[in-house]
Every structure is written in structure tokens, then in C-alpha cells.
Amino acid sequence: MAELADEIEVAYPQQPHCATVLLLDTSGSMGGAKIAALNEGLRLFLRETGGDPLASKRVDLAVVTFGGEVSVLHDFAPVTEYAADLSLAVQGSTPMGLALERGLEMLETRKATYRQQGTDYYRPWLFLITDGEPTDMHPGDARWLAVAKTLREGVSARRFAFFAVGVEGANMERLRQLCPEDRPPLALKGLAFAELFQWLSRSQRQVSASHTGEQVQLPPVDWGTV
């Protein structure tokens, strides 16, 4: 007699997904040692996350850069589809406002796609790394107010989790004004990008492995300070 497993079909065999958008500052001031360290950290993140059997199937990563212009370097995909030698170049100013708008829009569109496909999903992540302040919006202008409101309300309504990291030279006060009170921006210690991206990989692996009802405790941050 055939095994029951051979007879049944599974409605949704695909894994649940964790949509994650990395918003990475590639403005001119990130040149030299900073971008080299960021590139190395990013490649480490791709390797470690891609090497995890669950995270490699569940983390749905998009990378958006903002330097002169905002560019979707890579749309949502498993980390294993990224080039192992991914390398970002720097140029221009810091259109952080547009990058945040783009990232937020991408997350909501991705969730709508998941719902259409019947793919289960975790609360998505928006992760910002910058060494400056936005040059396309300023406190009090229309874009600033709209972006800040969307971030605050979105985090409060648990539509996504938002993390901001300031690299040496960042205007931490500006970042603080954008971040929710219970998760202020973190200042990266020196060029500890490797530690930052290892933490990000461990965190995403923990989320990917979390079961219903488990409160995901993120690993302690040893690469930055509040």
C-alpha cells in the first residue's frame, strides 16, 4: 500500500520568507577604507547566511544603494543568488530620503506578493547604514515629515522592523529623529562592518529558525553603541 506521504500533496511547499532590505550609503564620503570594509562585511553576510540551511531558503534579500542616486542593486532574492564578489562603488550625495521611501515601498509590495502567492512571512526588516545625513530632505520639510511618519507608524503598527546604523561621520541626531524611541540608531565602532554583518547574519538566522510563539532574542550588539 502506498505511504500516505506519497498520496498527499502540500498546498504551499515553499518556505516562509523574511523580506529584508539593506539601504546602504554609497555617497562619496564612504570612499576608501569605509566602502572596502562595508563590501567585505556584505560578502561575509552573504556567505554566512547562504551557508545556513534554513536562512538560505527563508531570507529574501534586497539591496538598495544611495549615493548620488538611489539604485536597487539587487531585487528580492535568496542570498545564494547574489554574486559572491559583490562590490559597491561610491559617488555623489546622500539621497537617504528617497532611499527610505523606496525601501518602505519595496517591503509593502513584497508582502502583497507573498499574500498573493500564499507564502507565509515573518515581520520584514529595513536596515539602514549611513555615514552622513540626508541631502534630499531636511527636518520639517514635506519629505522628511512623510518619511519620519511612515517609519514611526510602520514600526508602531509592526509592519516592519527598522534598524539604523551610523558610521563615523554620520549625523546621529538626524538618525535619532527618524528612529523609533525604543530602537535608537547605533554608532558603528570604527570600521567594525564585519562584526555588524555577522550580527545581522546571526539575527536573520535566528528569525528564520523561530517557531510560532518564540520571541526572537537578537544577539547582543558588540559592534556599536547607542
Binding site: 505511504e3 500516505l4 506521504a5 498520496e7 498527499i8 500533496e9 502540500v10 498546498a11 504551499y12 511547499p13 516562509p16 534554513l54 508582502k111 499574500r115 498573493q116 500564499g118 507565509d120 512571512y121 515573518y122 515581520r123 509592526r158 528569525v207 529558525a209 523561530s210 517557531h211 510560532t212 510563539g213 518564540e214 526572537v216
Partner: protein
């Protein structure tokens, strides 16, 4: 212990009478109290014993379900159709649901009733949910026959085997073994690494 408390409560009130919905509600309350008492005895927070719960009473053509959390109950009509009798808790994220141990659990306990000529019921936890339920574009769940129909066929065979075991053979086989095999199969493990519980409640139609 939640299940044991619920069963004890229902047994104590049997025969069920007409108010199945009140009985499943009482049973759910007994289950909640039992879990909290256990947490207190262990000197731990109730959250450490978090669980979802489904209490199902089926009597004649009436089914009542008290349900908190994810998982679902599907009913199979004699004509061959499936319907979801109790839906999973609404939750946007896959690793979040409501539990019997939440402080506001009463607000999220759902009691549903259904009437019909059901041949059988299938109850399952979240580990089987992605296999057993489809979702419309608006997020509403509906039963997936590709998973459930083979279970109905299995249940009918099991009922027949129980009613008339082959001559000369004493039956020592555990009739639920094929279900255990299913839950441990690679196909279901790949679909979800959440806990998997599957209960089939079938009426032998030879009884009428």
C-alpha cells in the same frame, strides 16, 4: 495537561445535550485554568507553557469548536466537499499567534458552530497548516483537497478495518502509524518545521 483538563470537563458533563458551544467554552476555560495552575506550581510564568488549543464536540449533525491560536478544523461532508469549521487565528506573521496563556486569551478564543451531515473532521496544528489549507488573495483560508482527500480515504479504510478485522488476524498494529509516518515524512518536514499534530475524527457510515 490542557487537553486532559478539557476532556475531563466534557466527560463530566456528558451526555452533551444541545448546548455544545457552551460545553466547548467551559472546557477551554478548564484547560486555561489547568495550565495556569501548573505554571504556578512550577513557579514559572504561564508564557513558558504557551500553547494553542482546539476543543471539538461533534454530536449528531452538530459540531462546536472552541479555538485559540493557529491550526484549523476542517469538516468533510458525505457528498465529498470540505469546509473549514474553525479558521487559524488571523496573524500577519508566520511566527506569531495567540495562546491560551496570554493575559487577554478570552478575547481571542473563538467558538464556532456548524451543522451538517459530516462524514469526518480533521483537526491540525500549524505544522500542517501550509499543507492542508489554501489561501485566497484576500487572505481567507480554504481546505486543500490534495492534502485532505487522502486522509479521508485513509480514515474510511481504518474504520472498515476496525469494524471487521481480517479473519485469523489479531490486530496489534497501531492504526495511527501511517499518520505518524506522514507527519515525520520529508514532504511535511520540508513544508514546515513547526510542531505537527493531526487528528482525524471519522464516523463509520455503516453505523448510519
Amino acid at each position: 495537561m490542557a487537553v486532559e483538563a478539557a476532556i475531563a470537563t466534557v466527560r463530566g458533563a456528558w451526555p452533551a445535550g444541545a448546548d455544545l458551544d457552551a460545553q466547548v467554552l467551559t472546557a477551554a476555560h478548564a484547560a486555561a485554568a489547568a495550565v495556569r495552575a501548573r505554571a504556578q506550581a512550577l513557579e514559572t510564568r504561564p508564557r513558558e507553557l504557551a500553547c494553542t488549543l482546539m476543543v471539538i464536540l461533534w454530536c449528531g449533525g452538530h459540531v462546536a469548536v472552541a479555538h485559540i491560536g493557529d491550526g484549523a478544523v476542517a469538516g468533510h461532508r458525505a457528498e465529498g466537499e470540505w469546509e473549514v469549521l474553525s479558521l487559524p487565528q488571523e496573524s500577519e506573521y508566520v511566527n506569531e499567534t495567540r495562546f491560551l496563556t496570554d493575559t487577554d486569551w478570552r478575547a481571542h478564543l473563538r467558538v464556532t458552530e456548524a451543522e451538517g451531515a459530516y462524514e469526518g473532521l480533521v483537526a491540525f496544528t500549524d505544522g500542517c497548516q501550509r499543507a492542508a489549507l489554501l489561501r485566497n488573495g484576500d487572505g481567507l483560508h480554504r481546505p486543500f483537497a490534495g492534502f485532505l482527500d487522502p486522509l479521508a480515504r485513509f480514515a474510511r479504510r481504518a474504520c472498515k478495518a476496525a469494524a471487521a478485522p481480517p479473519e485469523g488476524e489479531g490486530s496489534t498494529a497501531d492504526p495511527s502509524e501511517p499518520l505518524q509516518g506522514l507527519l515525520q515524512s520529508a514532504k511535511l518536514r520540508d513544508a514546515s518545521d513547526d510542531d505537527k499534530t493531526l487528528v482525524l475524527i471519522w464516523r463509520d457510515t455503516a453505523d448510519g
